[in-house]
């Protein structure tokens, strides 16, 4: 007996430890920061509670059954019939009645939550277009003429409506603290609507296998107070500032065009108007490079431009063949793109 108790105690400790570690780190769906993610977490706790009750019941019955083992109960035709009747009661009670009792409220809860999620109230949502690419996100604010990448800024407490499309394969937008995921399907337009209730930066991830670098197709949603968001969006709408005349950055701008960067990247306000890669008009303003692959600082930026495949093998941007001096010039230039 005591040995068994020891096992139970040990198992409890292990489970508690697992639950504790589960709550460490960036907490995903466990720490919702929007109405939508909050009610989904509530629904999860309801389902988990029901499951726990049923699980305890099933295991208790199983243990009881395993220990019953009474050969006398089986003897004789009358005993046999009684046993079969008892058994049928258990099967109907546990196998039919119990699931119905649990699943009817669960169906109601599910449908209610689903209705609440698709409910459109309040002010018209801020429209944002998100376009999936292998392996990055193009972000557009059609009302403001802003094009950026891999980072969605939203005003807190205001509903936003993401319009999702894809340039190539299927991707899926998933920012667990703000919302469940919605796929981007070629030839279709899907939508995702939520409002963040707390300011913060929330990690997102492509959730549908989209090729070699599916893992490093990350997304950050920055929720901030309305005034800061408005300042951000106004800054983003402006064309790039010209680099200081005579600086290395100005030389970098030339390299940017001559070395072919401009064939894929746009820098608004300059001749660079490529459309295959992310818009770099305000790239220095972003938190990360390569869709969440690297922190955006000078060293990482130089490494990324020199060879994106060192950190993101399979990315469609080719390694560059710039001379060291040219590389530093380009990095200088990119750092002016605030």
């Amino acid at each position: 007996m005591s040995r068994r108790r020891g096992v139970v105690r040990g198992a409890t400790v292990v489970v508690l430890w697992l639950l504790l570690t589960a709550c460490a780190g960036e907490a995903g769906a466990w720490q919702p920061r929007s109405r939508q993610a909050s009610i989904v977490l509530w629904l999860f706790w309801v389902m988990l509670g029901l499951a726990a009750v049923v699980f305890v019941l099933v295991v208790a019955l199983l243990v009881r059954a395993a220990r019953a083992g009474d050969p006398a109960g089986v003897a004789g035709d009358a005993g046999e019939q009684a046993a079969e009747r008892r058994a049928r009661r258990l099967v109907l009670g546990g196998g039919v009645l119990l699931p119905v009792v649990v699943l009817v409220p669960l169906s109601i809860a599910t449908l209610t939550v689903a209705a609440s999620l698709s409910h459109r109230v309040g002010p018209p949502a801020l429209p944002i277009e998100v376009i999936g690419h292998q392996y990055w996100w193009e972000i557009r604010y059609p009302d403001h003429g802003v094009v950026t990448a891999n980072e969605i800024h939203i005003p807190g407490g205001t509903p936003v409506e993401l319009t999702l499309t894809t340039e190539d394969v299927i991707h899926s937008v998933w920012v667990p603290q703000l919302s469940g995921k919605v796929d981007m399907i070629p030839g279709e337009v899907t939508e995702l609507r939520f409002e963040a209730d707390t300011a913060g930066t929330y990690l997102g991830q492509c959730a549908e296998l989209c090729g070699l670098q599916h893992a490093r197709m990350r997304l950050h949603v920055v929720a901030e107070p309305l005034d800061r968001f408005e300042a951000w969006v106004a800054r983003q709408a402006e064309p790039a500032a010209a680099p200081e005349p005579g600086s290395r950055a100005e030389a970098g701008a030339e390299v940017f065009v001559e070395a072919g960067c401009a064939a894929c990247h746009t820098v608004r306000g300059t001749g660079a108007a490529g459309e295959l890669g992310p818009d770099l008009t305000h790239v220095a303003d972003r938190l990360y490079l390569g869709a969440g692959t690297l922190r955006n600082d000078r060293g990482q930026l130089a490494g990324w431009v020199a060879n994106p495949h060192a950190s993101k093998p399979g990315a469609l941007m080719p390694p560059s063949s710039l001379e060291p001096e040219e590389l530093l010039a380009v990095v200088d230039y990119l750092e002016t793109l605030r």
Binding site: L18, A22, G25, E26, G28, A29, I39, V40, L43, F44, M47, L48, A51, F55, V58, L61, L62, R64, A65, A68, G69, P71, G73, V74, A83, A87, R88, L90, V91, L92, G95, V96, L98, L103, S107, T110, A114, Q134, D168, V169, I170, W174, Q177, G180, K181, V182, I185, P186, G187, E188, T190, E191, Q205, C206, A207, L209, C210, H214, A215, P313
Partner: protein, 636 residues
């Protein structure tokens, strides 16, 4: 009711064995059609693939053991999880269940072989060649990397231009052909060849589950064959079925794939529950209670599973009403599953459980499968599925269902029927220990993955960032996977040891209720000397004499003396298993092997775009079929 036959009368045995045994030597091996030989080939080939898929899984876990690990390149990682899923689904789980069905159902219903033995052999060779072709990609270097459900357009010609996906499509096609043929055989067998007296209400639950599985395969597999064919056409000749830019629709693939793919889950689960019913009855000494309810549950699961596929597509942007309907339908599947779970609990309660290895696997199955069922209900709820879908929560869920719900019952069955297969008993202590190690390893591996999924860890990522705090749980999971792997190796090692060195088994070591235990262990080539006749649901336990008129009994008795060395079996009516006729089955032939080989060559020609090879193979296939149809070997 079956006469227990003392050592068969020598001359009778000789005559029957002459008619039914496969010829000796290599030619005999290649031409064998006996259901027991073919069934075991399926089983052991599938076990070999289990190890291939298991090693792939361990490599995946090693890569994920810590953040930013670089043991595997992203390319290799994508290939490994694709091959792991594909191998476990298509080359392990379904074939091993088919193999068990082929070996055991003819014995359980008291007949001598399956209705189309050569088709059986053809199916096995298709499976083997398909599996080899799929794994040949590992050697050739272009390994499929689009995931086991190969979503378009990622798997289409534009984004997967190499041959990798062609290996996948053609390998899968060959394996599915084997599945469809096996299904046809099992349905005809179980409806038309049951022992006289075995009416529908007396079919063992294992056989019922196989009948349901076969029917589902017959409906589901052609769908995925069609889907694969369309994709292969898109890849080879540019027919744009799934290409949105050219007027196709990538969601068509998802619908077709999941109309197959969801029933596929129950194609594995249903026979697994049949194994559990057989094991529970044998090891508690009690028939499964509420038999009509359990049969109704099996059939309703089979039907309902075709109406649930959209719950794999809750995030593609379908209308709310559709999601609600499929959600509630998916919840409802808990009812037939609950009926079965409680039927086993009640049977254990009313019976006298004897705690040998198969019963321990059944206990592990019930607990694990119930947990997987709960998470199944959770992900069937569209709002929650938005978070869980394509995350590690779902990875955890389906491993609970597929390992807990399918692999544990398969292992219970392998231990339980090992005496029938080999005449020897596996070691009990090692068996029980392997079960314990597997259970511990399994839960350490997969429980943390629920938590990781909700923390935001998406499925199929080859790495994750260091600052997320996911290292600890991933490391625990990886450690658990090695414990689990050790448990599986111990279990299979026990069987490998017992095959030659295990103690000789008595004829019926578990005092079980079904007919496979009424003959010798292993059974002779002809299964039974005298045609069994049945008067109840548990022929080995029933004491009533079967009611047949003298004339019928005389005709059945004559089956013990093969007429001109023919392979004669009795055909019975579908509902009440009245004897209708005696017919002869074809004997050994290498033509099934030739046909399967030629078909594989033809498909390989398509794969490598070398049309002479494709046409030559197709011609060879045609020749083999004509030769096959010309002389069916039923009359020697």
């Amino acid at each position: 009711m079956t006469e227990v036959l003392a050592p068969p009368r020598r001359t009778v045995h000789q005559a029957l064995d002459d008619a039914w045994s496969s010829p000796p030597g290599l030619l005999g091996f290649l031409s064998a059609v006996n259901h027991k030989q073919i069934g075991l080939r399926f089983v052991w080939t599938a076990v070999a693939f289990l190890f291939v898929g298991g090693i792939e899984a361990l490599l995946v876990r090693v890569q994920l053991a810590r953040a930013e690990n670089d043991v595997l390149s992203p390319e290799t990682y994508n290939q490994l999880f694709t091959m792991h899923g594909t191998t476990m689904m298509f080359l392990f789980a379904v074939p091993i269940l088919e193999g068990l069905a082929m070996y055991l159902t003819p014995l359980q219903i008291g007949t001598r072989d399956m209705p189309f033995p050569r088709l059986n052999a053809f199916g096995y060779w298709c499976y083997l060649f398909g599996g080899v072709l799929l794994n040949w990609s590992l050697v050739s270097g272009s390994v499929p990397d689009g995931g086991w459900f190969a979503y378009t357009p990622l798997s289409g010609p534009e984004f997967s231009p190499s041959r990798a996906l062609d290996f996948w499509l053609i390998g899968i096609t060959l394996v599915e052909i084997a599945g469809i043929l096996g299904a046809v055989e099992l349905i005809v067998l179980l409806l038309k060849q049951r022992a006289p007296g075995m009416n529908l209400a007396r079919i063992p639950l294992f056989c019922w589950s196989m009948l349901v599985m076969a029917t589902m395969m017959l409906i589901a597999f052609p769908v995925v064959l069609t889907a694969s064919l369309l994709l292969e056409l898109e890849r080879k000749v540019g027919a744009p079925f799934y290409d949105a830019a050219a007027g196709g629709n990538p969601l068509l693939w998802q619908h077709l794939f999941w109309i197959f793919g969801h029933p596929e889950v129950y194609i594995m689960l249903t026979p697994a529950t049949g194994i559990v019913s057989a094991v529970v009855a044998a090891h508690t000494g009690r028939r499964i209670v509420a038999y009509p309810l359990v049969v109704a549950a099996l059939i309703s699961v089979g039907i309902a599973s075709f109406g649930l596929w959209v719950h794999h597509m809750f995030t593609v942007g379908l209308p709310q009403v559709v999601l609600g309907l499929f959600a509630v339908a998916s919840f409802a599947i808990a009812i037939p599953s609950g009926v079965q779970i409680f039927a086993w609990i009640a049977t254990i309660w009313e019976g006298v459980p004897r705690w040998r290895t198969p019963m321990w696997f059944v206990m592990g199955f019930i607990v694990t499968f119930v947990l997987g069922g709960f998470t199944g209900v959770m992900v069937a709820s569209p709002p929650f599925d938005g978070q869980a879908h394509d995350s590690y929560f779902v990875v955890a869920h389906f491993h609970y269902v597929l390992i807990g719900g399918v692999v544990f019952p398969i292992f219970a069955g392998l231990h339980h029927w090992f005496p029938t297969f080999t005449g020897r008993l596996p070691n009990e202590r090692v068996g029980r220990a392997s079960c314990g190690v597997q259970l511990v390893g399994f839960h350490i591996t997969f429980f943390p993955q629920h938590l990781l999924g909700l923390q935001g860890m998406a499925r199929r990522v080859y790495t994750y960032a260091e600052d997320l705090g996911w290292d600890a749980l991933n490391l625990v999971s990886t450690a658990g996977s090695f414990v689990f792997g050790a448990g599986v190796t111990l279990f299979i090692g026990n069987l490998a040891w017992a095959r030659r060195r295990g103690p000789r088994s008595p004829r019926d070591p578990w005092t079980a209720d079904t007919l496979e235990w009424s003959t010798t262990a292993p059974p002779p080539s002809y299964n039974f000397v005298d045609q069994p006749v049945v008067s109840g649901r548990s022929p080995q336990w029933d004491r009533q004499a079967p009611a047949f008129d003298a004339q019928t009994l005389e005709a059945l008795a004559a089956l013990a003396h093969p007429h001109r060395g023919r392979r004669e079996v009795v055909r019975t009516s579908v509902f009440d298993a009245r004897p209708e006729a005696i017919f002869s089955l074809p004997g050994p032939s290498v033509l099934p092997l030739c046909a399967a080989l030629a078909l594989s060559v033809a498909l390989t020609g398509v794969l490598v775009d070398w049309w002479p090879l494709a046409i030559g193979g197709a011609a060879g296939f045609g020749w083999a079929l004509v030769a096959w149809l010309n002389g069916n070997g039923a009359h020697r």
